[in-house]
Symmetry: C2
Subunit: 197 residues, 2 copies
Amino acid sequence: MKRIYLAGPEVFLREAIAIAEGKKRICRAHGFEGVFPLDNEVRSAGLSKRDVGVRVSRANEDLMRSCDLLIANMTPFRGPSMDAGTAFEMGFMRALGRIVLGYSNCEESFLERTRRVLGERARLRDDGQIEDEYGMFVEDRGFGDNLMLDGAVLSSGAEVIRRTAPSEALYTGLRAFEECVQEAQKFLGGAPLGTGG
Amino acid sequence: MKRIYLAGPEVFLREAIAIAEGKKRICRAHGFEGVFPLDNEVRSAGLSKRDVGVRVSRANEDLMRSCDLLIANMTPFRGPSMDAGTAFEMGFMRALGRIVLGYSNCEESFLERTRRVLGERARLRDDGQIEDEYGMFVEDRGFGDNLMLDGAVLSSGAEVIRRTAPSEALYTGLRAFEECVQEAQKFLGGAPLGTGG
């Protein structure tokens, strides 16, 4: 069975395991095995918190290598951009030549969102671009995030799926995720709904 | 001559090219060629801004493949974490088996910084962890950012170099960057200062 790496900031939720189970169920229904970052057991006895962190990072890298495709939760996380750890994982899988898919529970474009977060700190350049208080411009490509991220999904032959979820389900809503899993079938095959394991 | 990919959010600065030249000069003085994301010419005539974005992303991926090592500017960018595009590039080079080095012009730990940004939205869990208003905990490993990022540098055999720069030089200060280039010599050789190109 083809394996899908489930990247996203939901690992930080209290109910991370329940969300992981929900995502894995959706994967199974479509003929795939969902693989969650926390699936790897990391031995931590006697290790410093730094060393445990490095072990978790290596374990996640190993898990990614064992997967055929990645679905990233690209929902903005504590700022205008997605979780930086998930961005790292998108780059990792892209370099391995695996398919990189992504969804966001926020429909807004990167430009709209960054401008909203900047508020009065946003400034207009002579050429019409928006820049922040450091003079750094805000990308305006209609994408949901930085062009390396959206670019990886588009270069994989897919689109980033952006659907606004209710705010209480910003990190837990799975509607856009399920659309990504359906999209994965185009790349990996998989069983049609109802016949999968 | 060994090539170093210069990843960081300074591509968004008005003075991006001047910063790139400064970084390349430091690389040359240490016997390396510095390679900046904007070095690739991308033909944009007649293309939509989305299509140009995808071409830039592919051109940067190609540039990375041509480099031996990456130095990431991991300075926090519009939130508690580093620029997500740079995080993507760290993952990309890590998966290719290249050395991933990083620096930050902010010494604060990820925990301290995220707690400061969250302010009154930070909550204490029963187990002593800090979480945000969505119930998502904040990593506490003494790292400067998400464990996948610091983990990639540590697994490369290096340390993330964190040095607080004056706020007006938050994205332009090159002291920590220069320490990274010195560190690169441990991995790639290169000429001692004064004898390089």
